[in-house]
């Protein structure tokens, strides 16, 4: 836990266990009640009376304090109160909990909120017990269209519900293939471009260099790295309250069988990368690791984690399945919300636009891969010139637009389901391929108690 939080500080993009058990049966009640005293404004949602001078309250996690500071420096005329909270990380779900309490109280909402999770638009876009949705619609004129269009393709998908955009993405967390170039060269291996090659390499490593690993399955985001990237239909969110779950397809089975083989031969251990156990056993022995963009800062280039020396870490494109186009998964990436209850929408909009697009923050300060494409380009150049990486970072850029769209952002957490049903079973020696039906049932159950219609 402690490791986890600390790592989160380094590579802050831990959305982690997206709202462990986040759920919303109550949301089914939405639509029954009427709105508050607000009138429908020009931005496509009910807004309260505006006051351009009103100070705005901004909730950030400790890593995003830098964003607020950069904004203050550039916009001294806008009054903001910065409140630090946990960013809803590590499954605390505090963003939602607090907003629900403000909804009950009928006041107290912050104007801008940063969340480390991807699940928030799913509830923040919905009426709850007759209360207006918390999130302001951003593509109804509040944020300029040109700005929205410049975000990396698909990056606003977790923010979009029924065509309306409810948040701006801070950073992307696309999965890529991280590898230790020095080790690969030393062993005489090539970087795999397909999952079949990846598995074959894993089997070779087990025989020729036992003790070295090519991945892990111990973290709750395992399904997002391997199953999302294999087009497995575990999380087919098709509407605000509908989901399609079918985990017994070829796409799911191929990923499961591959992992079973690699778990059995010891090259993908069932150990979380954020445990002392992992560091003890595998420091210097990570040959490859499919994982999100933030792994670079959180585990590889982190003195408290694997601490891979300068000039060794390479990044490869996400592998494809033979005969299929290459797609990839996504593990988190922060989001910025504007409150629909804000008295100063103008200032709130100015703030979220600044922190997601301005070079002052996204290029110069932010540790993660910016979701805003023009900033991402500059950020990559800056990273490449640092000399830390053994390869260029173009694979990372490309992967940003390769995220498979068949995996949605529902209100419940896929990570929590995996952690609860699969991780202990794998520890007990069961095969993932055999566990697929059980996993499917667990997802369906969780979706249903959250008010989803499951297909």
């Amino acid at each position: 836990m402690f490791r986890f939080i600390r790592a989160g500080r380094k590579g802050p993009w831990l959305r982690v266990i997206g709202g462990v058990g986040a759920s919303a049966v109550a949301l089914t009640l939405a639509g029954c009640g009427g709105g508050g005293g607000a009138s429908v404004g020009s931005y496509g949602f009910a807004q309260v009376e505006q006051d351009d001078k009103a100070p705005i309250t901004v909730w950030v996690d400790s890593d995003r304090v830098g964003a607020a500071d950069a904004f203050k420096k550039a916009n001294a005329d806008v009054k903001i109160n910065v409140v630090t909270y946990d960013g809803s990380a590590n499954g605390s779900n505090s963003f939602r909990t607090k907003v629900q309490l403000f909804d009950r109280a009928g006041s107290g909402w912050p104007d801008v909120v940063f969340s480390t999770q991807n699940n928030d638009a799913a509830w923040a876009s919905q009426k709850t017990n007759g209360k207006e949705p918390f999130a302001a619609v951003l593509n109804g004129g509040l944020v300029p269209k040109a700005t929205l269009d410049a975000f990396t393709e698909g990056s606003l998908a977790p923010c979009t519900v029924e065509g309306k955009v409810y948040c701006l993405r801070n950073d992307l967390a696309q999965a890529v293939l991280w590898y230790d170039k020095s080790l690969l060269d030393k062993f005489g291996y090539a970087v795999p471009t397909t999952w079949e090659e990846y598995q074959a390499l894993g089997e070779k490593v087990a025989k020729e260099h036992p003790g070295y690993i090519v991945g892990t399955v111990g973290d709750p985001w395992t399904p997002e790295v391997y199953f999302w990237g294999s087009k497995c239909q575990a999380n087919g969110i098709t509407g605000p309250k509908t989901v399609t779950v079918n985990v017994e397809t070829t796409e799911c089975k191929r990923a499961a069988t591959m992992l079973d083989t690699l778990i059995k031969n010891g090259t993908t251990p069932n150990i979380s990368v954020f445990t002392p156990e992992f560091l003890k056993k595998y420091s210097g022995k990570v040959l490859m690791m499919p994982g999100p963009a933030w792994y670079a800062g959180a585990i590889f280039n982190n003195p408290q984690s694997l601490n891979v020396p300068k000039g060794q870490l390479g990044v490869g494109a996400p592998p494809a399945w033979q005969g299929d186009t290459a797609v990839t998964g996504n593990v988190g990436g922060g989001t910025w919300f504007v409150s629909s209850h804000s008295k100063n929408l103008k200032a709130a909009e100015k703030f979220v636009e600044f922190v997601t697009t301005a070079d002052d923050y996204q290029v110069n300060v932010a540790p993660g891969f910016p979701a805003y494409a023009p900033a991402a380009e500059k950020w990559i150049k800056k990273q490449e010139s640092s000399g830390y990486y053994a390869t260029d970072l173009q694979a990372l850029v490309k992967a940003g637009s390769q995220i498979w769209t068949g995996w949605g952002s529902g209100v419940f957490s896929q990570e929590a389901i995996w952690a609860k049903t699969m991780t202990p079973a794998i520890a007990g020696g069961k095969s993932i391929a055999d566990l697929l039906p059980e996993w499917g049932t667990a997802i369906k159950n969780q979706a249903q108690v959250n008010g989803y219609t499951v297909k």
């Binding site: 058990g21 109550a26 009640l29 156990e277 003890k280 952690a419 202990p424």
Partner: protein, 310 residues
């Protein structure tokens, strides 16, 4: 736990204390004063919230009467029955261990004639309980991780090499029982010790003159006289045990949800209230818990003779 400990300690110390020199009227005025304070607090933080929960449990999100739909909803939740089973298994392990071991250890400590040893033992037993609940659970996060644990040898002996292997679902009830025993039993041992002190020395002496051994005295004299205290401990611990929350909640966060966040009934209620925004469902679960705890307490009260005089 801390609250019940304090209450129990107060009960022990007040038991059989000689009355002071004040007149009866003074005393009763004083006692009304004390009771009034307590009553205000219990109404504000006990009775009113309970009534609010009853109100919530029978209404829906908009405040309309809902009948028993909240109850049927939570009971048909796929997480409900597993949570009941988890708590029940935990309670059985924990309560049996608590009653047997606390009574045994208290009698052993009481029988120790060496003053410093007896004192040290009481302190050692009590110390873990002096740690605040959550922080003592945090300590266990390290104890249970084979790579960080001070007793890693023991964990390896059981065949555990990783944290996840230790916390597989089958191991959880005994783990929570051990944690709860470790944090809570010390206070009860001290209370039982106090209760043993209250047994008249004449009784013990008479038994000894009649030729009873230490074991016989413990079994035939001390234990029967401790019956009320044991049943009191049973009720208090039952109430705390059915509300199992801190241990699984912290382990859940620390294990990145490998220990589910809906393991116990109280956690499920928490999920309903703060993750699903369904305070009504949460209230329904808490009412069910209340009913179960009351029913089980009734067993302890009647079997333990808690309210019998003399």
């Amino acid at each position: 736990m801390t609250l019940t400990d304090k209450a129990a300690r107060a009960a022990v110390t007040s038991h059989g204390r000689p009355s002071g020199g004040r007149s009866g009227d003074d005393k009763s005025a004083m006692s009304y004063g004390f009771v009034a304070l307590y009553t205000v607090l219990v109404v504000a933080f006990g009775v009113l919230p309970a009534l609010y929960a009853v109100y919530l449990a029978f209404t829906d999100g908009d405040g309309g009467f809902a009948g028993i739909t909240n109850f049927t909803k939570v009971m048909s939740d796929f997480r409900f029955l597993p949570a009941v089973a988890h708590v029940a298994l935990y309670l059985v392990i924990w309560l049996v261990a608590l009653v047997v071991l606390v009574a045994f250890l208290a009698i052993v400590v009481h029988a120790v004639r060496v003053r410093w040893l007896s004192k040290t033992l009481r302190l050692v037993f009590y110390l873990p309980g002096a740690l605040a609940g959550a922080s003592s659970v945090l300590l266990w996060l390290f104890v249970l991780d084979p790579t960080a644990s001070p007793v890693s040898g023991l964990l390896h002996l059981f065949g555990f090499t990783s944290f996840v292997q230790v916390i597989v679902p089958a191991n959880l009830p005994p783990i929570f029982a051990i944690i709860a025993f470790w944090t809570g039993a010390g206070g009860w041992i001290v209370i039982m010790y106090g209760a043993l002190n209250n047994i008249s020395a004449d009784v013990i002496e008479a038994a000894r003159i009649d030729g009873a051994t230490t074991v016989q005295i413990a079994w035939r004299v001390q234990l029967p006289l401790l019956r009320k205290w044991i049943s009191y401990m049973g009720i208090m611990s039952l109430a705390a045990g059915t509300q199992l929350f801190v241990e699984p909640q912290l382990l859940s966060q620390a294990s990145n949800a490998v220990v589910p966040n809906d393991y116990s009934l109280n956690q499920l209620a928490y999920q309903y209230a703060f993750q699903q925004n369904d305070f009504n469902g949460a209230a329904a679960i808490s009412l069910l818990l209340l009913v179960i705890a009351l029913a089980l307490s009734a067993v302890f009260v009647t079997r333990g003779g808690l309210f019998e005089r003399g």
